[in-house]
Amino acid sequence: MGDVGALLAGFETALQPQYLLFAVIGVLLGTAVGVLPGIGPAMTLALLLPLTYSLDPTAAFIMFAGIYYGGMYGGSTTSILLNTPGESASIITALEGNKMAKAGRGAAALATAALGSFVAGTIATVALSLVAPTVAKLAVQLGPPDYVALAVLAFLTVAAMLGSSPARGISSLALGLFISVIGTDSLTGQQRFTLGLPTLGDGIDIVIVAVGFFAVGEALHVASRLRRGPIPLVPITGKWFTKQDFRRSWKPWLRGTVIGFPIGTIPAGGAELGTFLSYATERKLSQHKEQFGHGAIEGVAGPEAANNASAAGVLVPLLTLGLPTGATAAIMLAAFQSYGIQPGPTLFTEQSDLVWALIASLYIGNVLLLVLNLPLVGVWVKVLRLPRPYLYAGILTFAALGVYAVGASVEDLVLLFILGGIGWAMRSFGFPVAPAIVGLILGPIAEEQLRRTLAISQGDPTALVTSPFAAVVYCLVVVAFVGSQWLKRRQARLDAAVFAVAQASTTPGGPTAPVDDSRLASTARASSKEDGQ
């Protein structure tokens, strides 16, 4: 097995002290942003994108992977102790986890979340190491029309799945495609949409768009919805983890992994869906049904495992086909591009060192997170004391600094804040931002492949669908479109049912009842609207 050797070589790279340090920085930063409601891994990666101009790719991707996994771990802490999901994939954890904490079993809830994340993260990373090279081997044989088909698949599924309606997703995608064609056409040298401005002659840097949409736009959006008033923090009490907890947790962990990983690999709108499905499954299978809604440990173990497994699943299409299935994956793709690395089938052959180091760092990141997370829980809770105005001001400053550092041009800054304003408006009106980034990144690739296909077929458009692979993909597009709408409706139903249960079980006069359920529901809506991955 050449892959095992490659993986071991990857470990050799990732375990070097310098890269290990980047992994530690990544997981710490990732957990911190995961803990803070409103800011997630996508925003953090966007803020750090300008770093890609000075850092070597291996270090950058090891750090990014740490942030990505760390975010998944961190979200659960806030969910359990504050009843406000730290990020969208932890919404479900808040339901049972917070009840457990209030019943004096907070420590057990944190432990099952952390251990479940570790187990699922590790199993899913193994699955990634096995599946990805195989898919990559198949993917190398694809021709130009197949790429066009894949891009169409990515466009439509991301646009249809994220956001509050497909129409909004598609308009966001169109905006991204439009931004991607601004600049000088690489084949003919014609100026497109530059308005004669020299700044736009080279097109708009993806980094500026990503930072503008995900950091500036997102920070403005979250800040504009600033809710006042601290939320009572449930103190961590109880035994960490008993034998009985383990007996009740291990099956949900494994089931969560099995549900989460495939959901991550398909463009289904991110990790959230997996957590909802896992919660529903656990509720159905549990022998302690009466405990659901009052702090059932299965309801924490399953969804937490599912969200980490999805995180690994997302990397399969990203690394093998260059298809991002969510916001965080789209930003990682932007990072690959800013290094001049073409993500896609050739990634595994051309950049095999980098890819395997990245995968090895995922194993390492999981161990680091398990070691760091539980003992440092007190520190993570302190992060929540940060006054929010400082946080948002800091994000905006850092975003501006990063973009200015890249080009040292004032035009870039103006552009950044214009795009930030657009991003803010989009978010406020329920338009998802991720499809715009996906369009922006895949647009030029799709365009080039489309022209190449048409050049080869001498202008015959049927060449686009006659390749068997492309035909299959177009069928998949239809299936995925119908399927995603079905899944979405199912999730909405599940959503409503789950929140109804939560509402019913807390309303009888808990002292914190007036704040937390309405808050949970509204924050959940706000954060789940889009970012997922």
Binding site: R228, P230, R385, P387, P511, T512
Partner: protein
């Protein structure tokens, strides 16, 4: 006349509350217990939870001193401003605050609510250390 006490659910806050109770009893005045938060962070350990408030109420009821409890989100200026505002509004005769050990760096970075109250209160100030 009224005595204003700035309460926080921490040892120094409890010490201040106990001292204020004794003083109110001695002077035969009523007590105004104040707990506010700027409300700009997701969690604020200085903002009393319902359990803390129940504890405070039990203590106050037991003492028999007439009291008022003010538990709300303050304006953005911070705890010291809220205390001074209450003192002025009620025409208080005494302010009781809890103080704790601070490092010079901590004071430089975050300022000191106790110092602001001490310097700006129009009445007497009783500063209490946790036992």
């Amino acid at each position: 006349m009224t005595i204003v006490v700035g309460y926080v659910p921490k040892p120094e806050g409890r010490a201040a509350l106990v001292a204020a109770l004794e003083e109110a009893d001695l002077r035969g005045e009523s007590l105004h217990v104040l707990n506010t938060s700027k409300g700009d962070a997701y969690s604020d350990p200085g903002y009393a939870s319902q359990d803390d408030l129940a504890e405070v109420k039990a203590l106050l009821d037991e003492s028999g001193v007439p009291y008022e409890l003010e538990h709300r989100l303050g304006d953005q200026a911070g705890g010291a401003a809220d205390i001074l505002e209450a003192v002025e509004r009620l025409g208080a005769s005494l302010v009781v605050i809890g103080i704790r050990k601070r490092t010079p760096t901590g004071k430089l970075l975050f300022g000191s609510d106790a110092q602001t109250v001490l310097l700006h209160a129009p009445c007497q100030v009783l500063a209490v250390k946790a036992g």
